[in-house]
Amino acid sequence: MSRRHTSFNTALTYAAGLLFLAIFVGPILWFIALAIRPAETAFTMPPQLTFEPNLDAFRHILVDPGTNAPQLVNSLIVAIGAVLLNLPFSVPAAYALSRFKLRGKKNIMLWYLGLLMAPPVAFLIPYFILITRIGLQGSYFSMILVLQTLTIPFSVWLMKSFIDEVPVELEEAARVDGARWYTIMLRITLPIVRPGIIVTSMFAFVFAWNNAAFPLVLSSRSTATLPIGTLGYFATSGVTWNYIAAAAVLAMIPPMIIFLVFDRYVVRGLTFGSVKG
């Protein structure tokens, strides 16, 4: 009885697992298939299950962008730039919000949250005008700069929660040891929250990488990022589905690599061994 019960449970678990796999991995596999099959077979009915795979679409996106800029490289520049500009502001801000007695601390945090909640589309026109006025339109920096309105609030929230986890006694011990606040921040707190900084960078990168709204109005032809390029394939001489699919597959790779490499930091305990165990 219990034995059959168990095997029934196991079967159910596997069925649920397969369903989830189909929902999450299915589209990805379908897109990969789309990218490597001849464009004209994309939507034939009934679906054509056998085809001669080719890498033309990837070659086109990577090697022969034609009139399109090297969008993969552009995306990397913008995303990495956004992370690099983000950290020097969000980490000290998070430190201050976590540790110092500041007036209106709660309001600042809520304001950040508000910025995250608001749809970026609402700000597109103002940002476009602003960036054009200061003559930055079409530059990488314009996108990196405007992305900060999303990445900084998010990073501050995330970083603050990491810094909150560091026992205050560690900093008090350092004060008694004779260290000033900047030494404490640089030599005690930040090294301890290094996993947090890495995780925050990861999220900021993915935020910037996935963002399509800002590059849509701020990039030029030569600085267009991957999402913009993908959109471009809808317009020119019919919809080239294999190019779109190849671009989408390529766009998934960097975030995946990042999560695979830094995975251990996401789960690792922060302050193991600092206080009695």
Binding site: A173, F272, G273
Partner: protein, 388 residues
């Protein structure tokens, strides 16, 4: 090395909690003073004020006669051992100890020598390259000590540094700490809620009590362990110091020719003592008598002051503690009674220490007498000791 003076110190937290009020005492150069008291009596707060981690609402803090009330912790040249050790988790044992010296811009080779000397002294040399996470509780405790002693500070502040260790290690570390203090001769302020630790380690012990307003003082008494035991200044100290605790019994005093008769409230038990000046003033009133467990003696029934059934006896090997009840109202030592309307009913459980050979069988009557000369007397309203 330095002396330390607390001069009318007070601390009220922003939420209105009065943690410390009117605390004044001095720690002499090289002295080991223990702060002891129940949870919430302000021990940690007091220590943190000494470190500069907590601001003062009133009073002054002096080190070697210099006012350091407003001095930042960085500039006080004191070392603190935290209750949870607060070791830097990302640094090796070596760097944990070296950090404080590096802040003082000491040359590298000198730092190296000091760290290695301290590690040697604390038997940590083998662990210098390890991170705190890979150490046992006792080793972490020694690293915390090492981080303090390596700096040769003016004073040590220690907040229950042994409370996370198991009983055996605690006893061992207690001895080592005391030795260390004698060897280094550094002024030490040591917090514990364990009165055995306080008695065994302190040159002097300060007994603290929670306060509820700014008029009282946390500090009940500061004295040598022996003096605290022999001459407690009030009910709180008398009840806190000593294990098992002192017994308190309510008695009605009446004056007789040349003597005072004390009748235990609610019972037929009574005894007489020679008249004494201060105590005689309480004739006709209730007072509280304090009896240490070891002041009881097993005696023939005819001489017995107490002769009660013993429902519980705890044999510890060297001693036996016997517990018995008398039909007398109990005494609450934590609050001085602000009423003249004393209770006269209830049950008061007393404990006596007797030689194991005389341990009674369960519920057997045990005749006990008391050395009347040694009794402690307390005012029932204020709780203050009555002495002649």
């Amino acid at each position: 090395m330095a002396s330390m003076t607390f001069d009318g110190i007070g601390k009220t937290f922003p939420d209105g909690t009065v943690a410390v009020a009117n605390v004044s005492f001095s720690v002499a150069d090289g002295e080991f003073v223990v702060l002891v008291g129940p949870s919430g009596c302000g021990k940690s707060t007091l220590l943190r004020m000494a470190a500069g981690l907590e601001t003062l609402n009133s009073g002054r803090l002096l080190m070697d006669d210099a006012d350091v009330t407003e001095t930042e912790p960085q500039d006080r040249d004191i070392a603190m051992v935290f209750q949870n050790y607060a070791l830097y988790p990302h640094m090796s044992v070596y760097d944990n100890m070296a950090f404080g010296l590096q802040q003082r811009k000491m040359p590298k080779d000198k730092i190296d020598k000091l760290v290695r000397d301290a590690a040697e002294m604390l038997d940590l040399t083998r662990y210098l390259e390890r991170k705190p996470g890979a150490l046992s509780g006792g080793q972490r405790q020694r690293v915390a000590m090492g981080r303090a002693i390596v700096r040769h500070p003016m004073a040590f502040l220690m907040d229950e540094p042994l409370s996370n260790l198991d009983a055996k290690l605690r006893v061992q570390m207690r001895g080592e700490l005391k030795l260390l203090n004698q060897r280094l001769g550094v002024t030490t302020l040591y917090v514990t809620h364990d009165q055995v630790e306080a008695m065994t380690m302190g040159d002097r012990v300060a007994v603290l009590k929670p306060v509820f307003n700014g008029q009282e003082s946390n500090l009940q008494q500061i004295d040598t362990p022996q003096m605290l035991y022999d001459k407690p200044t009030n009910l709180f100290v008398a009840g806190f110091i000593g294990s098992p605790a002192m017994n308190f019994v309510r008695v009605e005093l009446t004056a007789e020719a040349g003597s005072l008769k004390a009748a235990v409230t609610g019972t037929k038990i009574s005894f007489s003592i020679p008249a004494k000046a201060t105590l005689s003033a309480y004739a006709g009133r209730q007072v509280i008598v304090g009896i240490r467990p070891e002041m009881f003696q097993v005696c023939p029934e005819s001489e017995a002051l107490f002769n009660e059934q013993v429902p519980v006896a705890e044999a510890l090997g060297a001693d036996t503690f016997v517990f018995f009840d008398i039909a007398s109202p109990p005494v609450n030592i934590n609050d001085a009674e602000d009423t003249e309307d004393f209770p006269n009913k209830g049950k008061n459980r007393l404990v006596a220490r007797i030689p194991p050979a005389l341990t009674p069988r369960p519920n057997q009557l045990l005749p006990l007498t008391v050395d009347l000369e040694k009794l402690h007397w307390f005012d029932p309203v204020t709780g203050t000791a009555i002495r002649d």
